[in-house]
């Protein structure tokens, strides 16, 4: 589940959720069942929002105030690749880059200030920082780093939420957006650098 609210919002949601659940567990004669049910629903909603970091309302509104999104906003959506511009262009021509071929036109390549490396910029902001980092790793190291599917011990409930464990494969992923399409990316990397 993609996180789309900030850490502060998550904390507030958890606190509100806990407060809302208090009347549910309070033993009071003649307590209104409807009120209890409403409290339980609201509390569970806030708790879920806080623990998962995902808000359906924000999703509908297209809002993303997550910490990861903020960190991406701070980037200038450009990377410097440790290869000459001609080498980068050749690798692009060979195919397999972790960006859709049609999207390559949205990248601006220029020689970096040091005259040796290549600056790659996302012209219209189509590609976020993480995608550009994957591209950089692919171009430099021939593969995109991953821990998806590696071994780990029994997670706590919080751990399962935080690492976005999916499919019961034991995948440890801190940011769900970072490793999406990894199989495609790495397959491509292996072909180019074979």
């Amino acid at each position: 589940m993609q996180k789309n609210i900030s850490s502060v919002e998550r904390g507030i949601s958890v606190a509100l959720g806990a407060l809302s659940l208090l009347p549910v567990f309070r033993r009071r004669k003649g307590a209104n069942l409807v009120l209890r049910a409403a409290s339980a629903a609201i509390g569970a909603g806030f708790l879920g929002r806080g623990l998962t970091g995902h808000c359906v309302v924000a999703q509908r509104l297209g809002s993303d105030t997550s910490d990861a999104a903020k960190s991406m906003q701070r980037q200038d959506r450009a990377i410097v690749v440790n290869k000459a511009k001609e080498e980068v262009e050749t690798l692009f021509e060979l195919g397999g880059a972790p960006i859709d071929k049609r999207s390559l036109t949205s990248l601006r390549l220029s020689t970096a200030v040091d005259g040796k490396r290549t600056r790659i910029e996302s012209k219209d902001g189509e590609h976020d920082w993480l995608v550009l980092r994957q591209l950089k790793a692919f171009l430099e190291a021939g593969e995109v780093p991953t821990v998806e599917g590696q071994s780990h011990g029994e997670r706590s409930l919080l751990g399962k939420i935080l690492v976005d464990e999916e499919d019961g494969e034991g995948a440890a992923r801190v940011e769900s957006g970072e490793t999406k399409n990894r199989a495609h990316l790495n397959g491509a990397a292996q072909e180019v650098h074979a």
Partner: protein, 389 residues
């Protein structure tokens, strides 16, 4: 396979988990023969470092036999005996080409967390939090090693595990700490912390030409080990470290000061007590008493070298002292790959036998007791090695 996993603050367990697999073309899978508990593992054990989760496999000092390689790994084959550096480096980025392997730009699959924490994404490390990539560690029967064509170093069969295991971390870490001091012949060097990294820093300082080395700690067995390495020892609970070092150096202070303690410094001074209180309240993870003391006593124009691990912010940091004395500050995770080969040669030549630091040999199933003993410094514990076979 069996693996040591983090279970919460001051608790580790030994769990049965799936065997690791090749995930990328430059991976290898290693069958671990020996693995050690590092002092920095204790920071994780104590819950001092953010972004560790229950179930994470610990360990970044390990060696063993290659059992499988990815299709892009041409320099290794099944059966090779290798030591694996604790940091993970692609070998191709700007930083790796400058031999700044611990600054590798490509090895961290979770860069957002460390970007937020430190301004730039750090490299990946084995078994050392999700901020550092979330890689499974080497306190396990098997471990997946990314970029295996860059990191692992083949070691000769003539050298036992005990002699080469520490090329994975503490020997290069101590050596880089001393090298960062730019030691001139006859220089005086002071080393805070006579744990394993401190011990190698002491011996490395002598290798690089130091005339005198002081070792500062409070545990008798560690000070004895430091004295065996040629250091003059200071028990900081018995004497005032500043006064002692100033007197010993004719009022100059040591030319170089090495903080091999890091974020969990002990002390009875006001700053140490305030650090402890803040750490207990979770408002400041780093307890920097040793570092403050090193800055205060260091000679004008000298160097403070920091191999000890710090993770966050430090209150009441005496940076002005450093400025007004014109100190040089050198620090950071070790560029292990840069040093492994040359230090292996020193071991082969008999210039040093790194096994001197081992105090306990355990099995993997003993890990919970081992962590507890190492943390409490019981039974003269300086270094624990867990043997698999």
């Amino acid at each position: 396979m069996r693996a040591v996993t983090w279970q919460g603050r001051n608790k580790v367990g030994v769990e049965t988990v799936p065997d690791p697999q090749i995930l990328n073309a430059r991976d290898a899978v290693i069958r671990v023969s020996s693995t050690a508990i590092c002092g920095s593992d204790l920071h994780l054990y104590g819950g001092c470092v953010p972004s560790i989760l229950k179930g994470d496999i610990l360990g970044h000092e390990f060696m063993g036999e290659v059992v499988e390689v990815g299709r892009s790994v041409k320099n290794l084959k099944a059966g090779d005996r290798v030591v694996v550096p604790f940091n993970i480096a692609c070998g191709k980025c700007y930083f790796c080409e400058k031999e700044q392997f611990s600054a590798c730009d490509n090895s961290n699959p979770n860069p957002s967390l460390s970007l937020m924490a430190t301004g730039q994404a750090c490299s990946g490390l084995f078994g050392f939090t999700h901020m550092c990539g979330g890689y499974a560690g080497g306190q396990a029967e098997y471990v997946r090693v990314p970029y295996a064509d860059v990191g692992p170093l083949k070691v000769p069969a003539s050298l036992s595990d005990d002699k080469v295991l520490f090329l994975s971390d503490i020997f290069p870490t101590g050596y880089m700490a001393a090298e960062n001091c730019d030691i001139q012949p006859g220089d005086t060097v002071a080393v805070w912390g006579a744990g394993p990294v401190g011990q190698f820093a002491i011996r490395s300082a002598f290798m690089l030409g130091a005339g005198r080395v002081f070792a500062i700690d409070r545990f008798a067995e560690r000070l004895e080990l430091a004295a065996a390495g040629g250091a003059e020892v200071i028990n900081y609970e018995a004497v005032d470290v500043y006064d002692h070092l100033m007197e010993a150096t004719g009022g100059e202070g040591p030319a170089s000061c090495i903080d091999a303690v890091g974020m969990e410094a002990h002390g009875r001074s006001l700053d140490a007590l305030m650090d402890s209180a803040k750490a207990a309240l979770r408002v400041q993870p780093d307890r920097a008493h040793a570092l403050r003391q090193a800055i205060r006593v260091c000679r004008k124009g000298g160097t403070v070298s920091v191999p000890g691990v710090y993770v966050g912010f430090i209150d009441k940091f005496n940076f002005g002292m450093g400025f007004n004395k014109g100190l040089n500050f050198r620090m950071g995770q070790t560029h292990t790959q840069k040093y492994m080969r040359s230090l292996l040669e020193k071991v082969e030549q008999g210039a040093i036998d790194p096994s001197f630091v081992i105090s306990h040999k355990l099995t993997l199933d003993d890990a919970p007791a081992g962590y507890d003993m190492f943390q409490k410094k019981q039974d003269g514990c300086t270094k624990i090695v867990m043997q698999m076979h």
